[in-house]
């Protein structure tokens, strides 16, 4: 619900500009707090990892991870494009790229699900050892973020179709974009940390 | 505005703590149990230094507050001075505390280095401590000076150490975090499962129970030798794991049990020593102990996780070591748990 729709008042362009600045600040603050959330996990992981001999090789399938990395990077691209076109007021393309991003997110989760299935089949439950504990903790919370992002994307796609957004008012897409890129960023660190190093 | 005599109340209340503090000024002995190690005395010393500083700041700040309330009360005709502050005053009021704080920091850093980084010099007595819910287990290496051999001396709930020698405790836990607290030695170290902690201290007094005054007194080795002290006649280590039992006692019974430990075994023969020789005089003192406390929350019976340290003259200490006869149960804790945990350490020690 945009402020305009809800309050039946005409809002000046100046209002939109200020409101956008507020929303951006809000999301950056939220992302700052997300950084700290993952800081705790990563800090813990660093401690555990550096206590293990460096020669230890991670017991994961690198290629699944790499595939997912590419999927997420691609979704970042499509998201960036969606934001770009929403700013131009190009509703069709915005919708298309939002849908693509959504699909790529689905892809990511499907791959993750395949991997999880393999782990479970091999008996690698979170309780198996400290590594799998961290693996499921980190990917699990990352996955939850992906899921949250997908819900947001779905809602935005629908609102975009309904015509809520235009050249002047497209902050929600931009904000969702920032969030989505952040989810991508987390994965960019998770991938080498869990699969490669 | 009706004048409310609030300040008189304020005065009374504010200076009650100040008075109490003043009592404290007379020295650590008022509330703090006397320190029995050099480091302990150092810590008390630092404590008192900070105390003097803090009391001065306390009196000045609270006094000024009070003075302001009284002196600057609004009355008809009185106008507040209009000022946004004074950089000069503020700088002074920042620099002076900074200097004081620097002093505290330097003193603390020096002592901290002594406490944490200095190594015990002579050949210390080494004792392994294994904490568990809710008791303290001790192991000493025995005559062969190697841990993990059959001549190890194992005890639970109580440990003996020689007076005037450095004692190193290697501490670990088999379950949750405990904290190894020797109040009179000012030693405290968390006992973290999975880690091996190390603390050391030196007792230079022997705790004995004065039968006349019914108080614990602390004797130096020389004083101890000169006085008639009952050294046996009660079991030094009567209860391997008394902790859970205390809780079942009624309150008064528990206190009696603790206070008059040695009365529980009236038939035992009394051995009274003076100048190292048995004498036939009524004893003036009975050997006593220091307490070990657990100061980290470790479960429902945390409050009862007590242990004792007997500080003994060297010959008594040897006798104590010989007297320990652990049962299989105690033995199994060490072979079954500790030796699995810390194989490397046993060799390293």
């Amino acid at each position: 619900m945009s402020d305009a729709a809800e309050h039946h008042v005409t809002l000046s362009p100046a209002f939109h500009k200020d409101r956008r600045a507020m929303r951006l600040l809000g999301i950056w603050l939220f992302l700052g707090s997300e950084v700290m959330f993952f800081t705790a996990f990563f800090g813990a992981y660093i401690v555990a990892r550096s206590a293990a001999p460096v020669s230890v090789v991670m017991p994961l399938e690198k290629l699944w991870g790499a595939l997912n990395t590419v999927v997420l990077i691609t979704s970042s691209l499509t998201m960036a494009l969606a934001v770009l076109y929403s700013k131009k007021g190009d509703r069709d393309r915005t919708g298309r790229y939002l849908a693509l991003t959504f699909l790529l997110a689905c892809c990511f989760l499907v791959v993750k699900a395949i991997e999880y299935t393999h782990h479970f089949q091999d008996g690698n439950f979170p309780s198996h050892d400290i590594f799998f504990g961290f693996y499921f903790l980190l990917t699990g919370f990352h996955g939850l973020h992906v899921l949250g992002g997908m819900i947001t994307l779905g809602i935005l796609w629908w609102r975009n179709r309904r015509g809520d957004f235009n050249k002047d008012y497209n902050d929600p897409i931009e904000i969702a974009g920032l969030y989505w890129h952040f989810v991508d960023l987390v994965w960019i660190f998770l991938f080498p940390a869990l699969y490669l190093l | 505005m009706k004048r409310f005599p609030a300040w008189s109340l304020f005065l009374a209340c504010m200076f009650a703590p100040a008075l109490a503090l003043a009592v404290d000024l007379q020295g650590p002995s008022v509330w703090i149990p006397a320190a029995v190690s050099d480091r302990g005395r150092d810590i008390d010393n630092l404590y008192m230094h900070i105390m003097y500083i803090v009391i001065a700041i306390f009196v000045i700040t609270q006094g000024l507050l009070l003075y302001s309330i009284i002196a600057f009360r609004a009355k008809p005709g009185r106008k507040a001075t209009f000022t946004h502050g004074s950089t000069g005053v503020e700088v002074i009021l920042a620099v002076v505390p900074a200097i004081i704080l620097l002093y505290i920091t330097v003193a603390s850093v020096n002592l901290w280095k002594l406490v944490r980084l200095k190594q015990p010099d002579d050949h210390p007595v080494r004792i392994q401590v294994m904490a568990e819910q809710f008791s303290w287990n001790f192991r000493q290496a025995g005559p062969d000076a190697v841990f993990g051999t059959p001549d190890d001396v194992i005890s639970a709930g109580e440990v003996a150490v020689p007076v005037d020698r450095n004692v190193v405790f290697y501490i670990s836990s088999k379950d949750v975090i405990h904290s190894f607290f020797l109040p009179e030695s000012r030693v405290k170290q968390d006992v973290v499962p999975g880690l091996l902690g190390r603390v050391w201290t030196k007792w230079n007094v022997i705790p004995v129970w004065d039968l006349a005054s019914q108080k614990r007194v602390l004797l130096t080795l020389a004083e101890y030798e000169a006085a008639p002290v009952a050294v046996s006649g009660y079991k030094l280590n009567s209860e391997p794991n008394p902790v859970k039992k205390w809780y079942q006692f009624s309150d008064s019974a528990r206190i009696n049990y603790l206070r008059y430990h040695y009365d529980r075994d009236p038939e035992a023969k009394l051995l009274v020593l003076q100048n190292g020789k048995p004498v036939k005089v009524p004893p003036q003192y009975v050997l006593h102990y220091f307490e070990i406390a657990c100061s980290q929350l470790c479960g429902n019976l945390h409050f009862a996780m007590r242990g004792t340290v007997r500080v003994l003259p060297p010959d008594q200490y040897e006798a104590w070591l010989k007297a320990q006869q652990p049962d299989d149960y105690l033995q199994s804790k060490w072979t079954g748990i500790w030796d699995k945990f810390h194989p490397e350490y046993d060799r390293a020690l």
Binding site: L25, W28, L77, L81 | -
Partner: protein, 120 residues
């Protein structure tokens, strides 16, 4: 705030595509790196896999900055928002350094059994 006047949508889209290409390339790079012994490759064999870890994290940091800078528009973000992120990252550093230093010390206490026990 006048940074909003983008030259044209086309050039932005191209820029994004270029960044995307770079990101994919870097991903390929990290994966490849994980198969080689980076330490030996750069002539410092004594570092062995430690060099791999450093290299891997460096590549990740590069990717991270690309996404931040371009996709997340840090390049035309205002000071406040930049500061928010900067401050959070500083705190992250403080936490990492603090805990790592402590655990490095604790590691000297724990003597091997904790390492072996990591089960990796």
């Amino acid at each position: 705030m006048t940074q909003q006047d983008h030259s044209s949508e086309h050039s932005d889209a191209v820029l994004y595509a270029e960044i995307f290409g770079l990101l994919v390339a870097l991903t390929v790079l990290t994966v490849t790196l994980s198969y080689v012994n980076v330490g030996a490759a750069i002539g410092l064999p004594q570092f062995g896999r430690t060099a791999n870890i450093v290299a891997g994290l460096l590549v990740a940091a590069c990717k991270c900055s690309l996404v931040l800078w371009v996709f997340m528009h840090m390049n035309h973000e205002n000071g406040t928002n930049r500061f928010v992120l900067f401050f959070a990252v500083c705190l992250m550093g403080v936490f990492f350094i603090g805990t790592s230093l402590d655990f490095e010390w604790l590691g000297t206490y724990t003597h091997g059994f904790a390492r072996a026990a990591l089960g990796l």
